[in-house]
Symmetry: C2
Subunit: 351 residues, 2 copies
């Protein structure tokens, strides 16, 4: 499809004051101009400039991964990021959770008529910056415009491909009793940052989303102890409660975790209390949970703590044999409880 | 992210009467159930059942392509298809236009709260059918739910990867003066089918979308005369007018085409006249335009006509040297005109 390519228009976009209209999604000159003036400029690479409806790259033989994610976060801009940075980081992270090296991304924009061009430019530039910082180019894309009231500003879907290092095979069903559970840092920062912005809450200490690309951290973990890693997952929607329950069910094991060991910023804990949220259910966008064979726990944890994005990594518990696949937590008060995942929503539109 | 994977819920979806609610996008049990009961059942393959946040596949060394597309068509169901079939066919076609063999797709759903589960199941099953018919599996996905009034039923983004046959290198800027322009069949069917449904028009002869996956046709063309093909493109949004203008601008040539040679169904011509549309601007979803070196035009055209999806293929004109990159058409009345692409919208939400 005619998407990200053609320079054949004569007027200029008024980015400061203009708004997206239906013509920007209709396949004509206006769409070409939007793509050129905003997306090509911000994302800036030879693949997009070639103006094909698909982009080409060379691969060596081996195993690859593919993933996709939709981003519908509200508000679009929040402390620590925006929908664009989230879309780049999130898809890189889904690739990295396979232990893979992210190679290329695609991005698809569904834009509501009337959306300010300046906001769109800001989002596109954030994506360009995130793409350059992470070294993962956005090589193909698409833009659609829907009538006012038929979307919520902008939705972004990204997809990505990556390469799995030879010999590595992480799987959702690979956790075994005795394995160590490690988290790369403090929980709940992203969800609370978004909720605070949405509810117009102000706290003494600003809470910033942890949105970050984890492929560098993963590379360090794989280099130090790849053969010991059973699986990794980023605890986004549903928080670490959902992630641990998913892994437990897929691997047919249980988990025992220790509340005291889970890193949680005091300001996030306070905000969760205020908002009535359990931080275990709150989304993260720059954290990973790794399940590691007992022999490798120390070396993997040390590699994580030596990396800026894993400096606060902690061993938070162990996998246990449990045919009920329960996640059980020893609480700070000396008691215990089952950590269930939610049946329904806690935090809609946080990613 | 927790996306397409986990079986850990106890009640059943009421698909006949139920509706999507926010809990279906929140990362908990309800989301797991929606994914299992609707998407896994319809798309049905081992990659999705493995329940990872990304899927793995092996590749030989060589060149690959990646593409993405967003689908926002309104209405969601139209004669000849629905948003789901369109999403599968469209992304396969963007891969095929590079001469590539489509391998794997991803699918991301953004669903409006209140959307009927029965419609979602129907769309998912159509995608499963289209995926099985084309032999291109959907191996990874994501589901988001937004509040009522923040979307329009459902939007789908698909991405895809494919493999480029060795020795083939089609490029948007490869057309040269003298090259033949071939279209694979009649124009305007998709856009008119969607518009007719949207406007509740009834014609004597039903107009059906041409939505189809073109990778089989492309494989036949490449086998017969791949070395002669300069480039291919599917004339979707903006129709063949936009496609030819894009190619002309990218290749820095002009085109002379012959109106009489362009296949156009009488009922589509009549509907376009009634709706005030120029069929050259109307979207197609199962057609391709190929620019072919003069020596290879006969063999490529013959290969197309021997394939069911190219039975009505026609040579419609030639590339010419033209520094203005104009697309000029000899009309049926014996005159001539410039075929410009539209500045703004003609048909919003037709793909």
């Amino acid at each position: 499809m005619n998407k990200m390519g053609v320079k054949a228009y004569t007027w200029k976009l008024d980015i400061a004051n203009g708004r997206v209209d239906l013509s920007h999604g209709a396949g004509g000159r206006a769409m070409g101009q939007l793509i050129e003036d905003i997306f090509h400029k911000a994302l800036d690479n030879d693949w997009l400039r070639a103006g094909n409806d698909q982009s080409t790259f060379a691969v060596p033989s081996g195993r690859m991964v593919m993933t996709t994610d939709g981003y519908v976060v509200s508000p679009l801009f929040f402390p620590g990021g925006n929908i664009g940075t989230l879309a780049v980081h999130g898809t890189i992270n889904d690739i990295a959770m396979a232990g893979a090296v992210p190679l290329y991304l695609s991005a698809c924009f569904i834009i509501e008529e009337g959306f300010p061009l300046a906001d769109l430019e800001c989002i596109a530039q954030s994506m360009g910056d995130a793409s350059r910082e992470t070294g993962v180019p956005i090589i193909t894309g698409d833009t659609k415009v829907v009538e006012r009231g038929k979307a919520d500003g902008v939705f972004i879907s990204t997809a990505g491909v990556g390469r799995v290092p030879d010999g590595l095979d992480l799987r959702a069903d690979a956790a075994q009793p005795g394995d160590a559970v490690i988290i790369s840092g403090s929980i709940g920062d992203h969800g609370v940052a978004v909720m605070s912005k949405r509810e117009n809450l102000e706290f003494d200490t600003a809470i910033i989303s942890d949105s970050a690309a984890l492929h560098g951290l993963v590379a360090a973990m794989v280099a130090a102890g790849g053969k010991h890693i059973r699986l990794m997952r980023d605890p986004t929607r549903g928080g670490i409660a959902a992630t641990l329950n998913e892994i437990a069910n897929q691997s047919k094991i249980g988990f025992h975790i220790d509340e005291e060991a889970i890193p949680l910023k005091p300001e996030v804990a306070a905000a969760c209390e205020f908002l009535g949220l359990d931080p275990l259910n709150v989304a993260n966008e720059g954290k990973l949970v790794a399940v590691v064979a007992p022999d490798g726990a120390d070396v993997v944890l040390a590699a994580m703590q030596a990396h800026p994005l894993g400096a606060e990594a902690m061993l938070i518990g162990h996998a246990v044999a449990d045919e009920n696949c329960f996640v059980q937590m020893a609480t700070s008060f000396g008691g215990g409880r089952i950590v269930d995942w939610l049946s329904g929503e806690q935090l809609p539109r946080i990613c």
